[in-house]
Amino acid sequence: MERKKTKNRREFIRSSMRFGMVLALGGVGGLAFRNAAAGKSVWQIDPFKCTWCGRCATHCVLNPSAVKCVHAYEMCGYCDLCGGYLKVGHSDRSTAAENQLCPTAAINRKFIEEPYYEYVINEDLCIGCGKCAEGCTAFGNGSMFLQIKHDICVDCNECSIARVCPSDAIKRINGPDPYLMKGDFSEPA
């Protein structure tokens, strides 16, 4: 008899605690859902904040990094003397290794017409070091810039590059088109 009583008491405590927890979880969930986002958000680099520090190449959980250089052709000046392609102090404007800025030779330089050249990024080789983006922004139009490629990015809960980004340029963004493209020369207001 006494045993049964104890059991009932225990059962009562347990179910009331359970009830309390369901309420608590419901409360937490309800409050959280109120501010919930419907869409999907992904990590992306703001090219206007990026300072090409080079950490994208070394701090991504993937090797090589999911950050790649993206080229906005509509912004390119098609210069022969390309700050994104040639080393500062290059001896010649040629495709020779000693003149190329890219450490993996991921930029293809193609002659269009005198004196213009097209620059195409070979993503398989790009390691996202940002050297070309830095050169292009310093000496050219800034048509080369870094972006996180979402066919590669594994979308970590906390981006390990964002954690070390010195200019705080990596943020989560929403939307069906998860890129922050430099479509225009000016920074969007």
Binding site: V88, S91, A96, E98, P103, A105
Partner: protein, 618 residues
């Protein structure tokens, strides 16, 4: 296959898989250590080789070496990535086999045994648990308190400290007059009031007779400097006799001395009067006033002005541009081909004014004592600020275009106070301004991106402006025959009538990238970075001749004694006749790289090479 066989198979599979795992792990570890030790893409060897190539641009063997190393490095990098990936999958595969075989092995061995009878002492276990939980909590509290008392908050004292520290950011653009000797008699009120007037009259006279400052012999009476003149602002004839700014008087690139050396050789010492080492490197050019030659030098740590006796090459004094309020504690980043000392200084015979890539501007008296100094705000300039200074009477002009705005300032030479400060429709540029008489009035003419414009020197009003430039504006404008000429690589060359602001002609066949054009006798000369000097008809823009040189030009051509002096980066000075045909008068090697524009004095040329300063003459 009985149970024993199964156990044996599982065991041997586990052993093999385990050994394989260890092997792969070791290989991966080796790969990691190698990559840590030297990242093939950031190899220092490569960097050194490329740096060497900058000095020997034609060393084919070196190029070959770089190419091979580059290929090797990239191979090493991509192979290592491949190795890590392949090794990772192999390791995973092997571990799965290891785990499965181990599990089978153990499950085959183990049976459901009769459990041991004795139980652990539940009470003792509870007491021990209490001890350890309390102990753990105690350790946590101890660690927290230890951290609390060993780490203090450094921010608390920050705001208490700030007001005492004048070098803290936020206090840019302070003008202070240093405690060095105060301004003395050179500048007194009555004389300064009189000076602009005389200058003005004289100029009007001159422009009435000759519309452009063609080379003219210095006139006798005004030419001889009287002691009294030294305390007033110099008149135009005095300025003509000196070389007080980048590209000579008013920055026009035209020298008024009749006697100019035409033949020298730096390596053999022919016609080299003296040669002294440059005390501190910079890309600025020397300027001359009477017997003194001034130049600047700069690096990450110090910015200095040097004064030499131009007859002997003795260093008379040097002055540092240090402890300037608002000056950045870390200098802005500049490229190696610009540095912090690219702008050329200027002088009016009373004081020397110098500006540096840090935005520091300093005024020194002729003995090197500081008159005033200030910081104009660190320029946001990806190569480094390089526009040179100009001075006229009480005014000091500073073209200060940076990434944020196009800006021109005019300061009072005596105090550094701002006379006017305008923002103009231009982006960052590296050109230097010049001064030219237009309709009898001196104008400040400054290129920018995209404008070429003339400014009223009294209040900075933009008198005319032509959108003609693009790209990275390096060369300065030229003036002559009443016209302004501006040219820039990746853009075009234009001739502008400053009286109307109309464009007379434009062309884009040959364009200078760094070196500035110069005008003389209806002709316009440019020196380019594709190693040639070209001559154009200044009225029509028709190209008259071109001359291929051995090397490219950073130094600007200068007109002296009716000839064009153009020095290429190897240090060879090509002397051409000012004429519609290419007549090379002489080709004079210096034997040292030159990126600066020479300064001229009567019968002398001063060339600042990369390492030495040369005085050339008979």
């Amino acid at each position: 296959m009985d149970i024993k066989d199964k156990i044996r198979t599982a065991k041997s599979t586990a052993v093999v898989a385990g050994a394989f795992c260890i092997l792969i792990s070791l290989l991966l570890l080796l790969n990691y250590v190698q990559m840590q030790g030297s990242d093939p893409l950031e190899s220092t060897v490569m960097e050194t080789l490329v740096q060497r190539l900058a000095f020997e641009p034609n060393n084919e063997q070196l190029k070959q070496e770089i190419r091979e190393l580059d290929l090797l490095a990239r191979r090493a990098y991509f192979t290592s990535i491949w190795q890590i990936r392949a090794g990772g999958y192999l390791l995973l595969f092997a571990s799965v086999i290891l785990v499965v075989s181990l599990r089978i092995y153990h499950s085959l061995l183990s049976k459901i045994n009769k459990p041991e009878e004795e139980d652990e002492d539940q009470l003792a276990a509870r007491i021990l648990s209490v001890k350890w939980i309390s102990g753990g909590t105690g350790i946590l509290v101890f660690v927290a308190l230890f951290a609390a008392f060993t780490i203090s908050d450094p921010l608390e004292i920050y705001f208490a400290r700030v007001p005492d520290d004048p070098e803290e950011p936020g206090s840019i653009r302070q003008i202070t007059i240093s405690d060095a000797p105060p301004r003395t008699d050179p500048v007194t009120e009555d004389q300064t009031a009189a000076a602009p007037d005389t200058g003005h009259e004289q100029m009007q006279e001159e422009t009435a007779s000759t519309p452009s400052p063609e080379p003219a012999a210095p006139s006798g009476p005004a030419g001889s400097a009287t002691p009294a003149a030294s305390s007033a602002f110099p008149d135009e004839n005095t300025i003509r006799r000196n070389h007080n700014a980048f590209r000579g008087p008013w920055g026009q690139g035209v020298i008024y001395h009749e006697s100019v050396p035409a033949k020298w050789d730096g390596s053999s010492g022919d016609n080299i009067i003296w040669k002294v080492p440059v005390p501190l490197h910079a890309y600025s050019s020397p300027v001359i006033w009477d017997d003194r030659l001034f130049m600047t030098g700069a690096d990450e740590k110090v910015r200095k002005v040097f004064c030499f006796d131009r007859h002997t090459g003795n260093l008379l004094w040097e002055a540092s541009a240090n402890s300037i309020p608002g000056s950045p504690s870390a200098p802005p980043r500049t490229t190696d081909d610009t540095g912090l000392g690219a702008p050329t200084l200027t002088t009016n015979g009373l004081a020397v004014f110098a500006i540096f890539g840090t935005g520091d501007i300093i005024a020194l008296d002729m003995d090197g004592n500081r008159l005033w100094a200030m910081n104009l705000g660190v320029p946001d300039n990806h190569y480094g600020h390089s526009s040179s200074l100009l001075t006229h009477n009480e005014k000091l002009f500073i073209q200060y275009d940076d990434q944020n705005s196009g800006r021109i300032l005019c300061l009072d030479v005596r105090s550094g106070e701002t006379i006017w400060d305008i923002t103009r429709d231009s982006r960052v540029s590296w050109a230097s301004p010049l001064m030219a008489p237009v309709n009898g009035q001196w104008q400040l003419i400054a290129k920018g991106n995209p404008i070429v414009a003339g400014y009223n020197i009294d209040d900075g009003t933009e008198l005319w402006s032509v959108e003609a430039m693009g790209g990275e504006v390096g060369p300065s404008p030229a003036f002559g025959g009443g016209l302004v000429f501006a040219a820039n690589e990746y853009s075009k060359m234009v001739a502008i009538d400053p009286a109307t602001g109309s464009t007379l002609w434009e062309d884009n066949y040959y364009l200078p990238e760094v070196s500035s054009p110069v005008y003389s006798g209806g002709l316009l000369f440019i020196a380019t970075t594709y190693a040639l000097v070209a001559c154009f008809d200044a009225k029509t823009g028709e190209m008259l001749w071109e001359y291929d040189t051995d090397d490219i030009f950073y130094s600007s051509p200068v007109i002296a004694g009716g000839k064009v002096y153009a020095t290429d980066t190897k240090g060879t000075t090509y002397i051409f006749e000012v004429g519609r045909e290419p007549v090379l008068v002489a080709k004079n090697p210096l034997g040292e790289e030159v990126h600066t524009t020479p300064a001229f004095a009567d019968g002398r040329i001063y060339i600042r090479g990369e390492r030495n300063l040369y005085c050339i003459g008979q």
